[in-house]
């Protein structure tokens, strides 16, 4: 008796699920346009749970709509092996060009080679690829950005003081490059780097790591966080510890950070233009597909945002 009803319930659940998959599948996929077959471009993106990359995706999507391309977006969830699978899957879908925003510059090489083998041109966005053939690389210069932040701190502190750095995901090239630029800026000054620890580009970790550092360091003049999420986490830690006079500089210029600068909680951030990286990606994809020559590197401008110019931004 009971078994029967359970089975019926089971049947209903499974069919519901299949319908759900079907509906999502149909609505999730872009509807094919009338007549002319649209050219497809694949975008394999490192993660979509970070506002920066969501903005990058939006920029690309907007440009694709404008130029009449269908954009297929796959999310690698910060996992290189997932990225490899995604490239395999997107190559099955008849794309004519692959835009890829790698999880890691080294580990993406074989995925790029997959596209090379299928004769699909590849453009890298934001992070480069250390292998395989890439038509062009579109990114903001993270080393220059790190240096920009470092120089600002040096200038504000008058060339001396105790500084803390919050690092991004160990091994991520953006973390390496921003750190490198920052170290270049403070080298040869009287700035003392008293602590430098990874907080994985994560706000919660930024807070907990900063709490620990605050315990250990009685004197801190400035913090450079390699992204805004960590910077905002650090600000929370500083506030709840009741410490004063610590200047926080972030990177990425996400909305929350801009607000924090307006509120005077944060000193500065380095603005990348993720939407511009995305839209330039599609723009250059269009050029490549039309057979035009493109440069091997397309730099996207960075900008230091402080209280003085934050209002001019939006």
């Amino acid at each position: 008796m009971e078994r029967k009803s359970v089975k019926r319930l089971l049947g209903v659940l499974v069919s519901l699920l299949l319908v759900a998959v079907l509906v999502v599948g149909c609505t999730g996929g872009t509807t094919p346009e009338q007549g002319e077959q649209e050219k497809k471009i694949g975008l394999v993106i490192s993660t979509l749970d970070n506002p920066f990359f969501v903005t990058l995706r939006d920029g690309a999507q907007q440009k694709a709509d404008e130029l009449g391309y269908e954009l297929i977006v796959l999310d690698s969830q910060n996992d290189s092996s997932k990225e490899y699978s995604n490239v395999q899957d997107v190559l099955q879908q008849g794309i004519s060009l692959l835009l890829i925003n790698p999880v890691d510059s080294d580990a993406v090489a074989n995925a790029v080679k997959l596209a090379n083998d299928a004769n699909i041109p590849v453009i890298t966005l934001d992070r480069g690829a250390n292998g395989g053939e890439v038509v062009t690389h579109i990114a903001s210069d993270n080393v220059a950005g790190g240096k920009m932040a470092g120089e600002y701190i040096v200038q504000q502190l008058g060339g001396e003081g105790k500084v803390v750095q919050l690092e991004g995901i160990p091994g991520a090239s953006s973390a390496r490059d921003r750190g490198k630029g920052f170290m270049e800026a403070i080298e040869g000054t009287e700035i003392d780097l008293v602590a430098s620890q990874p907080a994985d580009f994560d706000r919660t970790k930024g807070m907990t790591v900063m709490q620990n550092i605050l315990q250990a360091q009685p004197e801190i003049d400035a913090i450079f966080a390699q992204n805004d999420e960590m910077a905002l986490g650090a600000i929370q830690a500083i506030e709840s510890a009741g410490r004063q006079g610590i200047m926080v500089v972030g990177f990425d210029a996400i909305d929350d950070a801009l607000q924090a600068i307006k509120d005077g909680k944060m000193a500065a951030t380095v603005a990348q233009q993720p939407d511009r990286i995305g839209s330039l990606g599609v723009e250059y994809a269009d050029k490549v597909l039309k057979g035009e020559q493109v440069p091997t590197y397309v730099p996207v401008d960075l900008k230091l945002i402080t209280k003085d110019n934050v209002d001019t931004l939006d």
Partner: protein, 314 residues
């Protein structure tokens, strides 16, 4: 008595069939929704993608059959992959480097087993500790940087093909055959089931349950390391973040395959089916262009529904 065992065989068979039916249903729906699903190239992709998770899930099945759990597999994967990459960089013979990686994984598994048996630490805690330790060790050993360019000989493991079948798929097949044989045809296999269904009774009947537990954690460590070899070879790069969250996919495959988390019931056949369901779902949702946000939602629902059905049946 005889009647009862017959009935039990039947229900075990049914439980196995239920996941097969689920898998077939999924495949049918997907091939209706997208013509690209059933292409040979795509099928090979699905199998290769599945093999990464399934090899590890087979080891996990051994552990779960004894009523344990192994949360450390993702980190063990990363550490053994990283050490092998390091050995190759230092000029060691590729095969010896692989052997070293596999031995390390097995030893880490043994440590888990020792903590569980001799230390009386609950498996969840023992392997949680190992998960953190092995990840830490990976970061220490690599300095947070990936190790790449490992050469073509090593690349064969993840990228090579034998008679147009990808090597990872062949590895999965071999691992599966061995696991199936051990679990169904040997005394050790019976002892594993006995330990899981009633440890006290097993002990009283003379089974060295501690030895059996040591063995299953070692097996799980070995298969995690083997997966580490495949992933590292596939990407030609050992990443310090490799296998983050991989334990969850492995456990999901085991559970989807109808193996009971309380031990004593289940099979590696089920695990392969479970792994395929996850692999097909990942691939299919990608082909259907379903947003990654919905993908995670759907996968979660599938796992929950499958386990609910399984629970009700008992």
């Amino acid at each position: 008595m005889l009647n009862q065992t017959k009935k039990r065989d039947w229900s075990v068979f049914l439980r196995g069939m239920q996941s097969v039916i689920g898998l077939l249903g999924l495949c049918i729906v997907l091939s209706i929704l997208t013509p690209r699903f059933l292409k040979w190239g795509n099928i090979l992709n699905v199998l290769t993608q599945t093999s990464l998770n399934a090899v590890m899930a087979i080891g996990m099945t051994f552990v779960i059959l004894t009523g344990g759990i192994d949360l450390s597999v993702g980190s063990v994967l990363a550490f053994s992959g990283m050490v092998t990459a390091g050995m190759i960089h230092s000029g060691l013979n590729v095969w010896i480097a692989i052997l070293v990686g596999l031995v390390i994984g097995t030893v880490l598994g043994l440590v888990n087993g020792l903590a569980v048996t001799k230390g009386n630490v609950p498996p969840f805690i023992a392997t949680l500790a190992m998960m953190t330790m092995a990840r830490g060790a990976t970061l220490v050993y690599s300095g947070g940087r990936p190790k790449s360019n490992l050469g073509t000989a090593f690349g064969f493991l993840g990228q090579g093909k034998i008679l147009s079948i990808p090597v990872p798929v062949i590895i999965l097949f071999v691992v599966f055959i061995i696991a199936y044989y051990v679990l169904t045809q040997t005394a050790t296999g019976r002892y594993i089931y006995a330990t899981g269904s009633n440890e006290k009774a097993a002990k009283l009947s003379g089974i060295k349950t501690d030895y059996i537990k040591l063995l299953v954690y070692a097996v799980s460590g070995f298969t995690a390391a083997l997966t580490g070899m495949i992933v590292t070879s596939m990407l030609d790069s050992a990443s310090p973040n490799a296998g983050n969250g991989a334990e969850l996919d492995a456990i999901a495959a085991v559970v989807l395959g109808g193996t009971s988390l309380s031990g004593g019931q289940g099979s590696v056949v089920g695990t392969i089916i479970g792994g395929l369901i996850i692999g097909v779902l990942n691939n299919g949702l990608n082909l259907l262009n379903v947003s990654s946000y919905y993908q995670q939602l759907i996968k979660g629902i599938v796992i929950l529904v499958a386990v609910l059905i399984d629970r009700r049946k008992r």
